[in-house]
Amino acid sequence: MSSISLAERRQAMGFCIYCWLGLASLVVVVWASFAYLSLDPMRLFTAESRGYMGDFVRRFFPPDFSADYLQRIGKGALETLAISAIGTLIAAAAGLLLALPASGRFGGVAKSLTRFLLNFLRSVPELVWAALMVLAAGLGPFAGTLALALHTTGVLGRLFAESLENAPREPALALVESGAPATLVFVYGTLPLVTPQLIAYSLYRWEMNIRMATILGFVGAGGLGQMLYYELSLLHEAQASSVIMAMLALVVVVDAVSAWVRRGQIRAGG
């Protein structure tokens, strides 16, 4: 009863050979990454670097909570909100315009051309757009607005095009058969079907854009990010830490509001 055969011993190995290979290659890749960057993770935990980090962190406390500065932060936060709201609004409008050809309403050529344009707008990150827009429109929140608008147009355009393609065609066809012009067919026959979805997509993107707008300022595109970059470059750590707290608060509030709204929607939806 108690003797264990060789076959059993072999079977007893809990892991398959591929799991071992996979794990081993994972370890190699991670090790190679550290080696390539000539990083020694252990060095982070030496007493010296810990003391140094401690000093660095201490300089951020206490944060500057003077009424004067809080007011400036409030302005910065408002600017961030404005950048994200206007950027998303422009993107929603432009995205809807581009979604028309991208959903194949004006033929195959127009469809692939606009799809390519949308993909391009989407693949360039917001921060790169912001750096470019600072050149095109000068330093300030307007550059940030444009950058968000460009990237978000790519994202929303694609999503809108998909909704338009998936919308039922019968209402529009009925209007076409009654001789209505194409524009009115769209406005009366298709748009009402997709509006709720378009609004949901736009609100979702707005939520992400608020977070993005806080950092576009690093390349000079306004908002809280620009304040943080400025204070840090002047070594005003106390002010910088209040700005960081404001960023954190903004993100947490947006998270909470969107979770609340979504829960409400689920409840309303049944």
């Binding site: 009863m1 011993r9 007893a12 190995m13 809990g14």
Partner: protein, 280 residues
């Protein structure tokens, strides 16, 4: 003394009362079946004995200690001495049978031994022996999602047998098995309890299994103990009272109609009788 409950009551978080004024004391080595209609509180009672829920009222003492006055560490040690067979075996589908059985000793092994067992089982003979007792030795290295419900249930039993607990609790341990396998499994739980002199408490939906294997039977209804009798004294009337079915059918493992008479009466009337066990 295996355990002692005095005036135990349990009210669930939703305000529903599960148990009321349960007083019960059990000495080492007893074998007890708990029967009763579904919703009677059988599982709640077992969970209190397993120290997995805390009663709302009354005093509990399990294996000579009050679990809710122990420190975290002592409670952990006490729990390692209690083995629970669950009705729906809590075993991850992607786990192998041997790993699932080895998990019975996680509370006893040092952590490094458990950790190494994930890579190569620290003990192969032990789980194989326990699975063999339940006619499952050939499934030792099978993944649990390839097993049937009854087989999985026996893996759960094997885990507890492998744990070698000082108190054996079983919640509907044979609900997914056919009568023959149910007999085999209960028999193994029995011989484990008998050879090691530990107490076995099992909740059962099948009255025939309870009467055939357990010397002491407790009837539970609406959270209260209706009767607590030696199996030989359990009569048809008592059972029909318990299941509140004057004309209905008593639940059995093989779904065959059952008439129960205390052993002495049965001999006189010559009816079909479930014979309480005299030998193990």
């Amino acid at each position: 003394m295996s355990f002692e409950l005095s005036q135990i009551g349990l009210v669930h978080a939703n305000g529903q009362r599960a148990l009321r004024a349960i007083t019960l004391s059990v000495t080492g080595g007893e074998r007890i079946a708990i029967i009763g209609p579904s919703g009677a509180g059988k599982t709640s009672l077992l969970r209190i004995l397993a120290t997995s829920i805390r009663p709302s009222e009354g005093r509990v003492s399990v294996l000579q200690s009050n679990p809710w006055q122990l420190s975290g560490h002592e409670l952990k040690r006490l729990r390692a001495r209690i083995g629970v067979v669950h009705q729906f075996p809590p075993i991850p589908p992607r786990q192998r049978a041997i790993t699932a059985v080895l998990a019975g000793r996680l509370g006893q092994w040092p952590w490094w031994k458990s950790a190494l067992s994930l890579i190569y089982p620290a003990d192969i003979a032990g789980p194989r022996e326990q699975l063999a007792r339940l006619d499952l030795a050939d499934r030792l290295f099978e993944r649990c999602d390839r097993l049937s419900g009854g087989q999985l249930q026996r893996i759960g039993v094997a885990r507890v047998l492998y744990q070698r607990p000082d108190l054996l609790l079983a919640d509907e341990p044979v609900s997914a098995m056919d009568p023959a396998l149910a007999d085999l499994t209960v028999n193994q739980l029995h011989s484990e309890a008998a050879t090691r002199g530990v107490t076995l408490v099992a909740s059962l939906h099948a009255v025939d299994v309870a009467l055939r294997w357990f010397p002491r039977v407790i009837g539970l209804r609406a959270g209260e103990i209706v009767f607590d009798l030696p199996a030989v004294k359990v009569s048809d009337g008592v059972l029909r009272d318990l299941y509140a079915s004057e004309t209905g059918i008593l639940p059995t493992q093989d779904n065959q109609p059952l008439t129960v008479l205390p052993a002495e009466e049965a001999a006189v009337n010559g009816l079909k009788v479930v014979v309480p066990p005299r030998v193990i």
